[in-house]
């Protein structure tokens, strides 16, 4: 990819880093999705940290002077102590720290774990899962004595946190993952010094409007007669999916993705997080959805609502950590 630069100043190129915390790896791949633009990128930038793609050690980062990294993309949420430690380390070592992808900006899918307890998560992962073979009921421990000495592993936190819950963030790039076109535009803006003033509330590599803006389907301005899950009915082409009864998070989701899912006939799941200045994406969607039900009595409204299998998972799929309530009690 590029040479390791461990000297301050270096060769005049931008020093960029990409780190993954509680993440699936998709965001790292999404950076590669910029395709041939990669070649343009390496003309102007050197990678100084990218655990997914290159062999840098934490010690290298520790050895960097403060603010050495010009731009650090941090994807994934903070689920354990290592991720928090590195987040703080990278904040020190970076001029610009960008929360990259839904997990870092809003908690993403991992933040749905905030609706479970640590005990519950461990039980599912290490004890109850049918494909496990763990007769001794071993669970990870922070410290284990072994023949090699004392082994320490990161501590598991009771909550998945956003990057901004832990350190000050300069920009946010939403999306699961952020779409390549938008990412390249952001990189260009970055390189050209044209990003807006630093403000962790500012989302870049996206638009301010909601997915409806990019969606090619037409609205007929009718109320919803009943809810349907995607496997329960064939969606009519060209007509708004939400109006047909498929719960599409489009109206409450920031645009920039090009409405990819909808164009593939699946309702939007909300991965770009809330649009505009909305804080709680789920509440925004519930307010909108409840307003357009074709129900003249409470009984009918409840009947329709009962058909929604998992409201939390539907309305807060990617944004549990940035919602007002942030998780289950």
């Amino acid at each position: 990819m590029s040479e390791k630069t461990d000297k301050a100043g270096g060769n005049g190129k931008l020093k960029i880093g990409m780190y993954w915390a509680a993440s699936c790896g998709g965001c790292d791949i999404s950076l590669l999705e910029i395709g041939p633009h990669i070649l343009e990128l390496i003309e102007v930038a050197d990678v100084v940290l990218w655990p997914c793609a290159a062999d840098f050690k934490y010690q290298d980062v520790v050895n960097y002077p403060d603010q050495f990294i010009d731009v650090c993309f941090f994807n994934g949420g903070v689920r354990n102590s290592e991720q928090e430690e590195i987040a703080r380390l990278l904040r020190r070592k970076s001029k610009t720290l960008i929360a990259y992808g839904a997990c870092a900006t809003d908690g993403g899918i991992p933040a749905l774990a905030n609706t479970k307890t640590v005990e519950g998560i461990f039980a599912a992962s290490y004890h109850d899962c049918p494909s496990l073979d763990n007769p001794a009921h071993v669970e990870p421990q922070p410290i284990t004595q072994s023949e090699y000495g004392e082994l320490e592993i990161p501590r598991f936190y009771p909550q998945v946190l956003r990057l901004s819950d832990v350190v000050e963030v300069d920009y946010q790039i939403p999306g699961c993952p952020p779409q390549a076109e938008r990412v390249w535009e952001a990189i260009l803006a970055l390189v050209g010094g044209q990003l807006p003033a630093r403000n962790s509330a500012v989302k870049v590599a996206c638009f301010d409007k909601s997915v409806c803006d990019e969606c090619p389907r037409e609205k007929r301005k009718v109320k919803i007669k009943e809810f349907k899950r995607p496997h329960e009915a064939m969606a009519e082409a060209e007509w708004c999916l939400l109006e047909q009864g498929f719960i599409c998070m489009g109206p409450a989701t920031r645009s920039g993705c090009g409405a990819l899912c909808v164009k593939a006939n699946l309702p939007c799941r909300g991965c770009y997080g809330p649009s505009g200045e909305v804080q709680d994406q789920g509440a925004a969607m519930i307010g909108a959805l409840g307003s357009i039900l074709d129900a003249s009595t409470e009984e009918r409204a409840r009947e329709m609502i009962d058909h929604i299998v998992d409201p939390v998972g539907t309305f807060y799929r990617f944004t549990m950590a940035s919602s007002d309530l942030k998780g289950r009690r």
Partner: protein, 168 residues
């Protein structure tokens, strides 16, 4: 049972002298006037319910309610005109659908159903309003404090965990 649950989550049980804090969103034309009617009749009810007025229950955004719980409300009430009597024709129809949907979500997030109450109160129903306040206050009192901000602080929201050991 509530106690054990609370201890498990690391939140202290109800402090001595804890009083439920309940926010009520009332629509100006029916339920707010109904609450006034309770006052005119000098009916007495517990002081735990603070009223916020809006013009129509249709104004009540789910985000107002999630914010209330997130900022420490132990209970939230939403009142509006009876169906068919909305001053603005059908504002309460939207409330009628939004509230059950929100309630399901809140219940799935661990907020007991008795903490979030949605009722229609007309301008003449002072008695009903007073009774509602008494009932809701009692039920919330029995459930104990919700203490959401404290919980979140303990889980590192907004400040990180700063390397606290887990399992404690």
């Amino acid at each position: 049972m509530a106690e054990a649950h609370v201890v498990q989550q690391g939140v202290t049980p109800a402090a001595v002298g804890w009083e439920p804090r309940i926010i009520a969103f009332l629509c100006y034309w029916c339920s707010y006037t109904g609450a006034d009617a309770a006052g005119t009749a000098r009916l007495k009810y517990p002081p735990n319910v603070d009223i916020i007025r809006v013009m129509c229950s249709g104004r009540i955004d789910p985000e107002l309610i999630t914010t209330a719980f997130a900022h420490g409300a132990d209970g939230v009430m939403v009142c509006g005109c009876h169906i068919g009597d909305c001053h603005y024709i059908s504002g309460n129809h939207k409330t009628m659908a939004r509230m059950p949907l929100l309630k399901r979500t809140l219940v799935d997030l661990g907020i007991e159903p008795d903490r979030f109450v949605h009722e229609w109160v007309s301008a003449a129903e002072g008695e009903k309003f007073a009774r509602l306040v008494r009932e809701v206050t009692e039920r919330v009192r029995r459930l104990g404090p919700l203490g959401w901000p404290q919980r979140m602080r303990e889980r590192g929201v907004g400040c990180g965990m700063s390397l606290e050991p887990w399992g404690a």
